[in-house]
């Protein structure tokens, strides 16, 4: 039999560290059913049973204020939920015991078996009286420090004992919070109607009738009863929380009197804050950090990226020698391997970026950034937390949009989701890298800046400005009635735990490879098919035309092969599609080959480079030349002027800054907003920006250069 344990606690209680200690690297990341809240689960190690441990989102109380907190209430209220736990491991911070006890007493009153864990015990001089705490809570209590994995031994023994001795037995628990007598008639009615065993569950049903999963006939009945009994949601929440705190405070005064000593812990954090969130140095340090992060992403990632590309090209060269030319060889090399290298080449960048962001998160800096920029973000209809999403967008819009879950105001969340993809993500990088050289030569300006670097920076700034401007427009259009607030703990600064950082980076990278990777690989194979095949009669006609030209011009062997493949590509399905959209993109200076790349890029931007590689390498045995060189050699119909002249390349760059070319992002938007309207709006306004921006850039650049 498989037992289920849930790890629960306030944010910043060290829950994730303990999860890593208890499961080792044996963990999976998925979503909770029906919602896009990240679910981490893993097998508990060092116990002789099959126990699945699930890390529930950090929660302050059973009166939720965010999607994640609501999910926790949903799970704990629904005994049939797939992750409804047999046992709750409740994690509390020894330095914040009073506050962290609040949720624990609520969960105990739901009738759930619990082991109460006093974490960070190494930070307090005098640990709390465990036996007295057990008496107060009516559940086992254990102290440990997740920073020192060896201290988890007693906890594992306790879990072991729970499932051998208490197995299946739910202790009859005397409620900690005594329900107000005046409310009892209503609660008994609810108990009867909902076939509930526990009166405190009934009270929560009353508080959360609006969104808990309750069949509508019950819902209507309950609501009428609640009105009749004069049930007031907020008033009763406040009363309950106050009474719980009174009991907690009274108990702690007797058993944990040394709490005042803990004050000193925060003094060092305050000193650091004096600089890091200072009026002037605060924002300055924030932007320097960003610059440092992106700089190191570019410079450090180059080496592994070059290495990956080199490996693939030598593998390709090797395969083309040993394998006979056939349909399958072509599929393997130009379809599957090309797609695979397109996925893997991003891994170094994503890993480095997430490493840096996780460091900021784990050290406690990220919440300071939220605090500092809340006011500015509010001006743009967003929330301090949006800064985290926008910064993450610099890596990838998908985790960025997923991180908007912590924004409780629906409008602020929606605006953040809508504009996040305008921030240049790492997938645009290779496109920028290929094209930037066509816009400006590689020269330095004033001996300090190099010209392509400046264009790069300009493109990033353009994305940021566009995101903020679009946010302003959405702020004007979208109306809201929901309250917006910022109530946020600023945790103490801590040295990050390397294992946590490693696990987080590994998880993110793996989800990129498995989620985005699938799409990219699929597109790559699909593209290979589109570019290799076409209507039979068209292909035949193309071959004949090429044949005639070869004879009349007396071309060499290699030249005739190139000519043939280019005629074939023009006749392929991809060529037909590219030509079909050519009228729409001609004003931007794009030809039908760029059209093909635009079409395939609508699945994912990074496909652009792969498309260029496929377009220019099909039928070409010489694979060592880089995509860039092939694009440079590409001539217009007149055979003299370059296709990728500066105005066209600039327009293409601007197009890629603005365009919504990522199916995965649209899918995440659809999931997070739970509607098709918003992904469509997102796609629409970004496409509009892209076309208009590219058109302006092309027209202006052409005018200036002529």
């Amino acid at each position: 039999m498989m037992y289920k344990i849930a790890l629960l606690g306030n944010p910043n209680s060290g829950k994730s560290s303990l999860f890593n200690v208890l499961t080792g690297l044996n963990q999976r990341v998925s979503n909770f059913p029906g919602v896009t809240v990240e679910k981490k689960s893993g097998r508990l190690k060092d116990v002789p049973f099959d126990i699945e441990l699930t890390d529930l989102p950090g929660t302050y109380s059973l009166f939720p204020h965010s999607t994640e907190e609501k999910l926790v209430v949903d799970i704990l209220m629904d005994t049939k939920h797939v992750v409804y736990p047999d046992l709750v491991l409740y994690v509390a911070d020894a330095t914040q015991l009073e506050r962290h006890l609040l949720l624990a007493t609520q969960v105990l009153d739901l009738g759930l078996p619990m082991i109460f864990i006093v974490n960070m015990i190494d930070l307090v001089a005098f640990p709390p009286d465990t036996i007295a705490l057990e008496k107060f809570l009516g559940c086992p209590v254990v102290s440990l420090s997740a920073r020192h994995p060896k201290t988890a031994g007693p906890l594992l023994e306790m879990v072991h004992r729970f499932f051998t001795v208490n197995s299946g037995l739910h202790p009859i628990h005397k409620p900690i919070y005594e329900l107000p007598e005046s409310m009892l008639p209503l609660l008994y009615t609810v108990k009867e109607e909902m076939k509930e065993a526990n009166l405190y569950r009934c009270k929560l049903i009353c508080h959360h009738t609006d969104w808990l999963k309750i069949a509508s006939p019950h819902k209507a009945y309950l609501k009428s009863k609640m009105v009749g009994a004069g049930f007031e949601d907020i008033k009763h929440q406040v009363t309950e929380v106050m009474e719980r705190y009174t009991m907690i405070t009274n108990t702690l005064q007797k058993i944990y009197p040394s709490q005042t000593d803990i004050q000193n812990i925060n003094d060092s954090s305050l000193k650091i804050d004096g600089i890091l969130t200072h009026k002037f140095t605060g924002p300055l340090i924030f932007f320097s950090l960003l610059l440092l992060i992106f700089q190191s992403v570019y410079s450090l990632a180059t080496y592994p990226m070059d290495w990956i590309e080199l490996s693939f090209s030598s593998l390709n060269a090797f395969l083309s020698e040993v394998l006979p030319p056939s349909f399958w060889t072509s599929l393997l090399m130009d379809g599957i391997l090309a797609g695979l290298s397109g996925v893997l080449v991003f891994v170094p960048q994503i890993a480095i970026l997430f490493f840096m962001l996780t460091l900021l998160e784990e050290s406690g800096y990220m919440s300071r950034a939220v605090f500092m920029f809340d006011r500015i973000m509010q001006k743009f209809g967003m929330n301090g937390r949006s800064i985290v999403s926008l910064v993450s967008s610099g890596a990838c819009a998908i985790p960025a949009i997923m991180s908007t879950r912590t924004i409780s105001n629906p409008r602020e969340k929606l605006i953040t989701i809508l504009v996040s993809p305008l921030i240049s993500c790492s997938a645009r990088l290779p496109v920028y890298a290929v094209l930037v050289g066509f816009v400006v030569p590689n020269i330095s300006i004033f001996g300090v800046f190099n010209a392509p670097g400046l264009v790069f920076m300009g493109l990033y700034l353009l994305g940021i400005v566009a995101a903020l401007m679009s946010a302003l427009v959405f702020k004007k259009i979208l109306k809201t009635h929901d309250v917006s607030y910022l109530i946020m703990e600023l945790p103490q600064y801590k040295t990050p735990i390397w294992k946590n950082v490693w696990v987080a980076v590994q998880t993110k990278v793996w989800s990129f490879i498995s989620e985005a990777g699938k799409v990219i690989l699929l597109i790559s194979v699909g593209l290979w098919f589109l570019a290799s095949f076409g209507p039979e009669e068209k292909i035949l006609l193309a071959d004949q035309k090429a044949e005639q030209e070869i004879i009349s011009k007396n071309l060499s062997n290699e030249e005739s092969l190139n000519l043939k493949s280019s005629y074939r590509l023009e006749a392929s399905y991809a060529g037909i599609m590219g030509k079909w959209i050519e009228p729409a993109i001609k004003p931007l200076g794009f030809d039908w080959k760029i059209g093909i790349a635009l079409i395939t890029s609508f699945a994912a931007r990074e496909v652009f480079v792969g498309t260029m590689a496929t377009i220019y390498s099909i039928g070409n045995t010489d694979d060592t030349a880089t995509v860039r060189e092939k694009m440079k050699a590409e001539k217009k119909a007149d055979g003299i002027s370059q296709v990728y002249d500066p105005p066209t390349a600039l327009a293409l760059l601007i197009f890629y800054v603005f365009a919504m070319q990522c199916m995965s992002t649209l899918a995440v938007t659809r999931k997070e907003t739970n509607s098709w309207t918003w992904p469509i709006v997102q796609f629409g306004y970004m496409s509009f920006l892209a076309w208009t921006g590219a058109w302006l850039a092309y027209q202006m650049a052409s005018y200036i250069l002529n």
Partner: protein
């Protein structure tokens, strides 16, 4: 300044005792984060661009917008 004011009106570096909270939809959230009557609250600093401030309660730090801080009634102590 002395007497009953809101936490938003506190000067930086001034400690005060919380008297009461206005009942709003976010009151239970404030309480869960340790904003309770009887506790001592101190305004540590304002955000660099304004709009919110950082407060110290017991042994933890809390960032609150001015609107939220305004719903906290406090009594400044002598001095």
């Amino acid at each position: 300044m002395q007497g009953e004011i809101s936490a938003n009106d506190l000067d930086v570096g001034v400690k005060a005792r919380i008297v009461s909270l206005d009942n709003t939809s976010i009151t239970s959230k404030l309480m869960a984060l340790g904003v309770l009557s009887g506790k001592v609250i101190e305004k540590i600093q304002k955000a660099p661009f304004g709009g919110s401030a950082c407060f110290r309660l017991d042994n933890h730090l809390l960032a609150l917008r001015n609107e939220e801080a305004s719903s906290i009634r406090v009594m400044t102590e002598k001095g």
